[in-house]
């Protein structure tokens, strides 16, 4: 397909419309409180200041929160990639009794509004003695029906011929999954990894109730607690905090987005 200038024009116009609030957030983190509240909003900071960041980092134990967030997000992401692709493959490509029932159950939990299970889950985790612990922060999110559904849909798109070929060659069923099929879902794994990491990194309500001492806070919890009270309306601090929270996610997205990419064109159809 020929690349024409108007395609890029559409692309750039879209980019401006879509990215503006993010840029405003970054620029806003260098503004004073007074300038941030001005109507209409200013674009460039008039007197750029790093005060918001200084306040943020002087306030508390930020490396610790960073470490906690990273640890939890990595564990949750690893769990989802491994477990969701496993069951996703079984649901898409293996014939076994109970497959449809299992899939219906997965879909049903995807539909249950999150806040419904919140109270019973809290009671359960607290009674299991997992409150204020890393397992308490991680275990409830190690698998997600969203991830199972995503991986199943991608496995569905892969041709069965590859599996049959593996069977002819005498590869075990688990070997076919791990060595033939799983590598072909790299775009899906990258997508699931990005979305899961982002979801866990931004998760707020659960860590807020489970992390009770400061050494278990994650970034969103710490930010929320430091921007309430007398800081409730401190938008500069909020913007700086939002930037600090989002930068690692963007770095990760930049690093992995190329895996959501061409060249892994599904073999077997070629």
């Amino acid at each position: 397909m020929r690349r024409t200038w108007w395609i890029y024009l559409i692309g750039v116009l879209g980019l401006v419309a879509v990215a503006a609030p993010f840029l405003w957030m970054v620029l806003g983190s260098f503004k004073t409180q007074g300038e941030l509240l001005r109507v209409p909003p200013t674009w460039w900071p008039e007197q750029p200041t790093t005060g918001n960041y200084e306040e943020l980092f002087s306030k508390a134990n930020f490396p610790r929160y960073f470490l906690n967030s990273t640890l939890v997000a990595l564990a949750v992401t690893a769990g989802n990639l491994i477990f969701c692709s496993m069951i996703g493959y079984a649901l898409a490509k293996l014939r076994f009794k109970g497959r449809n029932a299992l899939f219906v159950v997965v879909m049903a939990t995807l539909m249950i509004p999150g806040m419904v299970t919140f109270v019973p889950l809290f009671v359960l985790v607290t009674n299991a003695g997992l409150a204020n612990s890393y397992p308490g922060l991680i275990l409830p999110f190690l698998v997600s029906p969203f991830g199972v559904f995503l991986m199943r849909q991608f496995f569905l798109g892969l041709p069965d011929d590859l599996i049959d070929a593996g069977r002819v060659d005498g590869t075990s069923e688990l070997g076919i999954f791990a060595r033939i099929m799983l590598p072909l879902t790299r775009p899906a794994l990258a997508t699931l990894g990005i979305l899961t990491f982002l979801g866990s990194w931004n998760n707020f309500l659960w860590p807020l109730v489970i992390a009770q001492t400061e050494d278990k806070y994650t970034l969103p919890v710490a930010l929320a607690l430091y921007s309430t009270g007398q800081n409730a309306q401190n938008y500069g601090l909020l913007m700086a905090g939002a930037v600090v929270v989002v930068v690692p996610v963007l770095v990760m997205f930049l690093a992995f987005q190329r895996h959501v990419t061409k060249g892994i064109a599904i073999t077997g159809l070629k």
Binding site: I7, R167, P187, L195, I266
Partner: protein, 326 residues
């Protein structure tokens, strides 16, 4: 896919051959091979499903049953420490929810939001994905990250900017409309325009997630498919409509179902922009549920959430039927 039978037969022949002693005839060998393969598949399937099932039973199924139980009781916040003081009330909570004026208004608003918002989001996301996959080759990563930015931007920053865009007097939108002689309304304070404003905001904010899933799907389709279409003389639109879109079907099903489920739980936009107003014109079912949780009416709140769940289940079922997989 019609080639599928060839390796199948090869497999049966080979496994029948290896264990030739067990089957008297070719037909018998095929049947035995078929059954044995099924058993191996069952074992493998449950090995693969086991970690999910264990975690699922502990951290999802348990709480789900717990909350379902709660919806048939008069449990309030203070009862959490002494769960045995709670009384069963049958379906009272469900009756109360369904006859509640605010809840009905919320149900209407949620339906409005979903019916307009989901197709819009998917069309924008798919258009962006096709633009990036087939149109834009240089700086592709920049565009991809750029379009994804709203997904990662703090809702606080999003709210501030959108309030400026939608502000009646010197807001961006009304200023632009003023240039062409249109006097724009006070978007968020108008009973008519508040919901469309929130829909626009939600589409803008969420299309990036669906876009990267479409991208992953599009990039799983080999270029040879399109080249074949080109040789047969199909135009760009025809190739998209009759070659790409059918191959994307599992991806379309996925994004429409997850976007639908997400939008049916519509919460953050009205929460930060309108608090459900003006006059409940943007209150959603999730917001109504959240309010009841806030009042400590756990029983009523969970019953509202389960009504929403039933609706989501029915709609998802319809989506599966419409985009039937095979």
């Amino acid at each position: 896919m019609s080639q599928k039978t060839a390796p199948d037969e090869a497999l049966r022949a080979s496994s029948g051959g290896r264990k030739g002693g067990r089957s008297a005839s070719v037909a018998g060998g095929a049947a035995a091979g078929g059954r044995r393969r099924l058993d191996r598949q069952t074992v493998a399937a449950w090995v693969l499903a086991l970690p999910f099932v264990v975690l699922f039973l502990g951290f999802t199924a348990g709480p789900v049953l717990g909350s379902l139980g709660m919806s048939f009781t008069d449990i309030r916040q203070r009862d959490l420490r002494t769960p045995f003081s709670v009384n069963g009330v049958g379906v009272d909570n469900y009756v109360k929810a369904l006859s509640d004026e605010t809840f009905r208004k919320a149900a209407f608003n949620t339906a409005y939001f979903v019916v307009i918002g989901v197709p819009l989001t998917l069309v924008v996301a798919l258009a962006a994905a096709v633009l990036l996959d087939r149109g834009i080759k240089r700086f592709q990563a920049l565009f991809k990250v750029g379009y994804y930015l709203p997904v990662v931007t703090s809702i606080v920053a999003i709210a501030v900017i959108w309030r400026f865009v939608l502000s009646p007097d010197n807001g961006l939108l009304n200023t632009v409309l003023g240039w062409v002689g249109i006097e724009g309304p006070n978007w968020l304070a108008s009973k008519t325009w508040a919901m469309p404003s929130l829909i626009a905001m939600a589409v803008w904010r969420n299309f990036g997630s669906a876009m990267i899933i479409f991208l992953a799907g599009l990039q799983g389709i080999p270029e040879s498919v399109e080249e074949a279409g080109q040789i047969d003389g199909a135009g760009a639109w025809q190739r998209f409509r009759y070659l790409i879109l059918p191959l994307l079907r599992p991806t379309v099903l996925f994004t429409s179902v997850t976007t639908g489920i997400g939008y049916l739980q519509f919460f953050e936009e009205p929460f930060v922009m309108t608090q459900g107003g003006p006059l409940d014109s943007t209150i959603s079912v999730s917001m109504a549920t959240y309010d009841q949780f806030g009042f400590g009416n756990y029983g009523l709140a969970t019953s509202m959430a389960y009504i929403l769940f039933v609706v989501i289940a029915v709609i998802t079922f319809i989506q599966f039927r419409l985009l039937r997989e095979k």
